[in-house]
Symmetry: C2
Subunit: 461 residues, 2 copies
């Protein structure tokens, strides 16, 4: 099996009476789960869960591979412009499959272009990023389902102008053609402003199926393009997802990893007051997965006054930051550890010069240390009555990535049914968008009427 | 003023009855605050708050500047090895003051070495990082107060061996001397295993004062070294901190920004059930500050079954991820926005070819857009009865960084007094350390006795 959920340490007999009574998994929780699964299958029948069909998109995978290979020929850098669901999955796949270290300032060049994901329209980052790229040797992927996302559209216009300026020298038509050749647009196949523009200008496009929401789109062209850029095996990614999808739709809770994930976390929240769900990989390459999950879980479930709060963490780093709170703070959290074998080991040599207190490290591996830390933290939490589960990946490769992404997506819609919310909408961000349009002077939109600043409520130095 | 806290939108009259009654700030909350301040001043008199004296360390600042300039001469890369409080502050200062974009794979070279902070002993990241560095042109700063942190010590031994191998060719003594010249050790001046080793091998050291805990050490040599590497003006950093420290020790709550920060967040938690404190900068350069704050707040306050949960976010990115939950989820959060002017603007040009729906962006700036999004989100939250405050930085420079770091440090010890916990210890992470030593075979430590895996509690595909 490529991904296994181990929930031993969520059960009362491991937690000195706290946690979920294990027999409930065959009783009331199984009932809850079956009802949630029925709701989810109803949504599927209504055509709302297009993400469940993405693993069958082998044709799209081949189309993406072919298009990407042509589009990146001769470039040094690829720039993905997107935000939220159009960016987070790209970073997950790049860091897990591309060998680039998250939070690092150096990209590995493995004979492939470097992959940058620009999500925030921060002028300082954008200048800093573009200053390091050669517009004649950069390919750009614009990702927006609606084609109207203000941040992505603004970045798109800025990057277009930068490319046009950098390629100037030929005539206008030659520049336009050169720019068009280096653009690839991922968007809704029918709606939005990007598609007519692409057709007019001869820019290649790839589809985001209309029934696939942004945060469920990682296995569409949205994620397949960046995965192809870093050289991933796309059919293997989809095959892993297909296998997991099938396992996550069976109605036997004990055998359904997404069902267990959703049902147990929901029960620990609503029955036991643990609304904070920590996702804690013990591997830098998997760190972005915690942020991708955060978006998926928060935006899908946080509505109608309900919803848990997902909290990303990283082992072993957060043992020196958040774990104190997890161990001795309020009993309001459940931790999900994420673990996978390392691609290679690095062995520590503590020579005879090394201080006595460090001699125990001699001959041991860094991966061995990280693994010991994860096991130690799991056990310390358990003895403190703090529940945790572990998602075990058998490797960090295409198959397991496809599996774990699908597991968490199915868990999210199941959790929507359990919490009694619609996991597919995001009505709470509309008002802010309208105010932004108003403040930016878009025709037909008014800026909000802010209350005046209160000088008596300001303090500083 | 370089940093101002605006708490207008925490008050009942802005939130349709939710939030803090503004008159309380002159009544019961002022009383609570004064008592907390008395506790804090007692801790200071007991010599427990060494961080309050760091802004007066102008001598150390000069020593650091001189040492760093010698140590980095002729190197391309600087590697900081540390974890938790020994790493997070370095990243804050690098990204805010060094012009390097967080989450980017390209470092700007401004005639200064690139600065890498390696915190996690992940073998895959370590190999990936070292493969891109030249051991003959890399300077290494090992940061550990105790000199026994397993992660940092393991990284230290690995990097030492890598340097020795890379410099091989001279005789043993010449190699040892060359390695020693490129090392700089930041540690306790009296205790620990690093100092005797440094003395024996002729490695330069800088002190972490014994009365300064790791998470309060950013204004000691721990943060000053990386700040000097990116070319920061260290006296200005300390001057900003000194000015803020003085403002945060006055007993007039209305005029004390740290007092307001701690007292209002504590009141919204304990009186109104909002235990989740979101820190949300609207600037990529300030994103690491949210993670630094997370460690400070979580590890200082999360104990004795108490403590809020700090949650980092980033504007505008999280408008497409977490803001749905902030807007429509449970009323369990307070958002603190962090805002600062951008160093420069990037103007969008939407030519006549641009789709009609994007024409409003023409001539507007990316920074203008980000600012509009922050104001729109603040107002949308306010109208939904969701409290928020804003920390306004007048610039992103040494003075404001020193100010905001000190504000949050003083707020943390005040919050410790308000929550009734000791903000200076971290007893909850000791057990995990002992188990790790046991699992790693360190003499005198036993591995924990784990319960066996339960195959009936595992599911996957």
């Amino acid at each position: 099996m490529s991904v296994v959920l181990d929930w031993s340490n969520l059960a009362t007999d491991r937690l000195d009476g706290r946690g979920v009574p294990p027999a409930d998994v065959d009783g009331p929780l199984a009932d809850r789960f079956r009802q949630a699964l029925r709701t989810v299958l109803g949504w599927r029948d209504d055509g709302r869960l297009g993400f469940l069909d993405l693993p069958d998109g082998v044709d799209i995978a081949h189309e993406v591979t072919a298009r990407v290979s042509e589009w990146v020929a001769g470039v040094d850098d690829v720039l993905v412009l997107g935000i939220g669901g159009s960016a987070l999955g790209a970073v997950v796949l790049r860091d897990a499959l591309g060998g680039v270290r998250w939070n690092d300032s150096v990209a590995l060049r493995r004979g492939r272009p470097r992959l940058h994901v620009a999500d925030n329209p921060d002028p300082d980052s954008v200048r800093s990023l573009l200053a390091d790229l050669d517009p004649a040797r950069t390919a750009v992927n614009v990702v927006s389902k609606s084609g109207s996302t203000a941040e992505t559209m603004a970045l798109h216009l800025v990057v277009r102008a930068w490319m046009e300026e950098g390629l100037a020298g030929g005539g206008h038509a030659a520049v336009a053609e050169a720019v068009a050749r280096r653009l690839l647009i991922t968007t809704d196949p029918e709606r939005g402003s990007l598609r007519p523009m692409a057709e007019r200008e001869g820019i290649a496009t790839l589809p985001i199926p209309p029934d696939v929401g942004g945060r469920f789109s990682v296995l569409s062209a949205v994620g397949l393009v960046p995965a192809a850029v870093v050289g991933a095996d796309l059919p293997a990614l989809l095959a892993g997802a297909a296998q997991m999808r099938d396992a996550c739709l069976v109605d036997d809770l004990r055998r359904n990893p997404a069902g267990l994930f959703a049902t147990l976390l929901h029960a620990l929240h609503t029955d036991q007051g643990r609304p904070i769900h920590v996702m804690m990989p013990y591997a830098d390459r998997l760190r972005p997965l915690a942020f991708w999950f955060q978006q998926l879980w928060a935006e899908s479930l946080g509505k109608d006054g309900r919803g848990p709060t997902p909290l990303p963490a990283l082992g072993a780093v957060d043992q020196h930051a958040q774990v104190q709170l997890f161990m001795e703070g309020p009993h309001d959290k459940v931790v999900v550890f994420l673990t996978a074998p390392f691609a290679g080991e690095v062995t520590v040599a503590a020579g005879s010069d090394a201080p006595e207190a460090l001699r125990y490290l001699d001959g041991r591996g860094l991966g061995e240390l990280l693994d010991a830390e994860r096991r130690a933290t799991t056990e310390a939490l358990r003895r403190g009555g703090r529940p945790s589960a572990t998602l075990e990946l058998s490797a960090v490769d295409e198959r397991t990535l496809g599996s774990v992404l699908m597991l968490l997506e199915v868990a999210t819609v199941l959790a929507g049914a359990l919490y009694g919310v619609d996991p597919l909408d995001q009505p709470g961000v509309e008002q802010g968008k309208l105010y932004t349009y108003g403040l930016m002077g878009r025709e037909g939109f008014d800026p909000p009427d802010f209350p005046p600043a209160d000088p008596a409520r300001r303090a500083g130095a």
